[in-house]
């Protein structure tokens, strides 16, 4: 009798406890992409859905211009007040102690969730053997052509160039007054580095040795050859002028306006181009990066800040974002590639041939950013500076990249 009473009381308490503690917890969510218009409808719907499903958690988005995203994060992390859920350069943030290791949370999840991502992708989520992020979306770099411009130049869109030499040949035929084959990127963001790496890797070259202790931009002959071929496009007049201020933004605008015939970019560039010029719908041809098939895939992950007071709520929101439904939405609306390996059979994905093409090209892609704590700085500053100098003084390209090798090798080992 007594025992029954006790168990009833215990049960009642157990039921009441969550009710009593059901005050709302606010977690902040910071990623630079919140300010991208193509993502806005998705993240707004996602927060609303998450809050409806978890009434005791309130998600506060932190909107920051991309160029200031890291500054804002570092400032708040230094004061141990960083937003709970963040998307940052994983290795850099983990090395600096700004992130919470997620192994315990991850290992407590069922195998079904843990099998959602390829081992390759999961390896990129680690730093020094610990897990710091959950993959959310990616971007595979492919070569995107303007079908009308190919036709005008008498080129066959069903037989896209397979080698870099063929590709350059196409560019020659696509260049005429006021129009260029493609754009070389030398603008002050790491997109410059991303493009350079696609050229190096597709040519069988390596920019770094395997354990990231040595830079080999010039030291690896295949790499140097690719750099010269790529940056040489500007000097030969096959690429749009003013590469040093051309970023992703300028590249897509030039493409949307029909000033360049091809651009090397990720799936999301298609949404951007069609936003700028809806007339291009149905006129884009997607092909692999000419070369040996290697290309680059950016991985964006969600992490929990080390100073987060509500890790379990943050974890719930991360799992929610990573879920299949939102992966589809991001792909459908924002053109961000899903990273889950259970997506190919999804009806929304299956009926989109362009997305399928990107997924296919992505099978041989190498993940980006590269795993080094100084990577954000190396990719956004040092490599960009070398590219800019080489574009200004093409004759010294080899010398400039030799200097870059020496400088980066020093930097890679100076932690």
């Amino acid at each position: 009798m007594n025992r029954l009473l006790v168990s009833v009381v215990v049960a009642a308490l157990a039921l009441a406890a969550p009710l009593a503690r059901a005050e709302t917890v606010t977690i902040q969510w910071q990623t630079a992409n919140l300010t991208e218009p193509q993502f806005e409808p998705v993240w707004k719907a996602m927060i609303a859905a998450f809050e409806a499903a978890n009434p005791d958690i309130h998600v506060e988005p932190v909107l920051v211009a991309r160029k200031d995203d890291w500054t804002k994060f570092v400032t708040s992390a230094q004061a141990r007040r960083a937003p709970c859920v963040v998307q940052t350069d994983l290795a850099t943030a983990a090395f600096n102690g700004y992130l919470l290791p997620l192994d315990a949370l991850w290992n407590a999840e069922p195998d079904s969730l843990r099998a959602t991502y390829s081992p390759d992708i999961m390896r990129a989520m680690h730093w020094k053997g610990q897990l710091y992020g959950i993959p959310i979306w990616g971007g595979v770099f492919a070569e995107i052509y303007n079908r009308d411009m190919l036709a005008a130049a008498g080129l066959d869109p069903t037989h896209l160039p397979a080698t870099a030499a063929d590709y350059v040949d196409w560019l020659r035929r696509l260049t005429k007054p006021g129009q260029w084959g493609t754009a070389v990127l030398g603008g002050p963001t790491d997109t410059t580095t991303r493009l350079l790496l696609t050229w190096i890797w597709a040519n069988g070259g390596e920019a770094f040795n395997a354990d990231m202790t040595k830079a080999t931009f010039a030291a690896d002959p295949k790499s140097l050859e690719a750099i010269k071929a790529y940056l040489g496009l500007a000097a030969q007049g096959l690429a749009a002028p003013s590469p040093n201020t051309t970023n992703y933004l300028e590249q897509t605008v030039l493409f949307a306006q029909g000033r360049i015939a091809t651009m090397r970019s990720a799936y999301w560039a298609i949404a951007k181009v069609l936003g700028d010029n809806p007339g291009l719908a149905g006129k884009l041809v997607v092909g692999p990066v000419p070369g040996n098939g290697a290309t680059l895939a950016t991985l964006s992950s969600a992490s929990i800040a080390a100073s987060c007071k509500y890790p379990s709520q943050a974890w719930a929101f991360i799992k929610f974002q990573a879920g299949k439904h939102w992966a589809v939405e991001r792909a459908r609306v924002s053109n961000w590639m899903p990273l889950r390996n259970d997506m190919a059979d999804d009806p929304d994905i299956a009926k989109d041939p362009q997305l399928q093409r990107f997924l296919e090209i992505g099978r041989t892609a190498r993940s980006y950013p590269l795993p080094h704590p100084a990577w954000a700085d190396i990719a956004g500053t040092d490599i960009v500076k070398a590219v800019q100098r080489a574009l200004l003084d093409p004759a010294r390209t080899e010398q400039i990249f030799r200097e870059l090798d020496a400088m980066l090798t020093r930097k890679l080992n100076d932690l």
Binding site: K67, W70, T71, V74, A77, Q78, T92, A93, F95, N96, G97, Y98, G186, P188, A240, P241, S242, P243, N244, T245, T246, E250, V253, L254, Q257, R259, A306, P373, A374, A376, D377, G380, T381, V384, K385, Q388, R389, L392, L415
Partner: protein
């Protein structure tokens, strides 16, 4: 001039501590808001900071910064940028102030119009110019093309020389009105009778300028120049938005180097050291300013 200006008369001796009280409130306020973070920043400059890990390195950061080529390149850029901007601010600002003097009734309206660039936030001003400079669709290339000065696609911000020039241009566009305002106010104080006297002596416009205007406004020109120098040395927003310091470091003035070191290279200790060095430079300019303007002397 009166033998002893009213303000130079000593206040009542027993009341002096009241004066201290009047000063103490603002100074304590400043100390609370500015001094504590400054002390913290100076302390950071002696630390090697890797995110949440910090270790004391004494003057190590300073040695590293002073021994790096990047710092001295940036110092050079800063010096050239400041000299170019301040010289143009003063010359153009003085010129405009003189033109305003002779503008008659339109003077007030014109001054307000010419002031407008200075009222725009620097970051926004730089954003507007970014759009004007745009190589493919920007209106500047179009206008220059009309008069045959550009073949189209000229990348103003993509080449070291023109990018530096562009940064100076934007700073001059935004900064000149302030100097113009100061000098215009200065011209108002030139006693009319001196001009009349000069005219009676048969001085032409140029001679009037040289013998009446210049001596009377020399002081305010010096004030404007030093104040403007101090503001220009710290200029961050315009360069950060326009070029971020590029291409290849051609516009990386010290405040931008400080920012890039701290927030791109994640070297917060090194950045603090650059900041303290920048502060030393600025402090030297303040001392210069004060000794030129005589703020430290009771003027009698």
């Amino acid at each position: 001039m009166p033998a002893r200006a009213p303000w130079a008369q000593p206040g009542l001796r027993r009341e002096r501590w009241h004066g201290l009280l009047f000063l103490a409130i603002p100074l304590l306020y400043l100390a609370g808001v500015v001094l504590l973070p400054l002390i913290q920043a100076v302390y950071s400059s002696t630390l090697r900071i890797r995110g949440m890990n910090a270790s004391f390195v004494g003057l190590g950061n300073y040695a590293r910064v002073l021994g790096s080529e990047v710092f001295w390149t940036s110092m050079g850029v800063s010096v050239r940028f400041t000299i170019a901007c301040v010289a143009l601010h003063i010359v153009l600002g003085f010129g405009l102030a003189l033109l305003l003097e002779s503008a008659g009734r339109a003077r007030t309206a014109l001054r307000l119009i010419l002031m407008t660039p200075w009222m725009v936030a620097p970051a926004i001003a730089a954003t507007i110019w970014l759009w004007l400079f745009e190589p493919h669709f920007g209106v500047l290339n179009y206008l220059l093309g009309l008069v045959g000065l550009s073949q189209g696609g000229q990348s103003w911000l993509g080449e070291p020389g023109t990018a530096f020039g562009a940064a100076v241009l934007v700073d001059v566009w935004r900064g000149t009105p302030f100097v113009m305002l100061l000098l215009s106010a200065g011209l108002q104080t030139v006693p009319r009778d001196q001009y009349e006297a000069a005219m009676l002596d048969g001085a032409n416009a140029l001679q009037q300028f040289r013998h009446v205007t210049l001596p009377n406004v020399a002081y305010i020109v010096a004030v404007a120049a030093t104040l403007d120098t101090i503001n220009t040395v710290r200029q961050f927003d315009i360069v950060a938005v326009l070029t971020g310091g590029g291409p290849a470091g051609a516009t990386e003035v010290l405040p931008v180097l400080l920012y890039n070191t701290g927030f791109r290279a994640n070297d917060l200790g090194g950045a603090a050291a650059i900041g303290v060095l920048l502060l030393v430079v600025v402090l030297a300019l303040v001392v210069l300013h004060v000794s030129i303007t005589g703020l430290d002397r009771t003027r009698a």
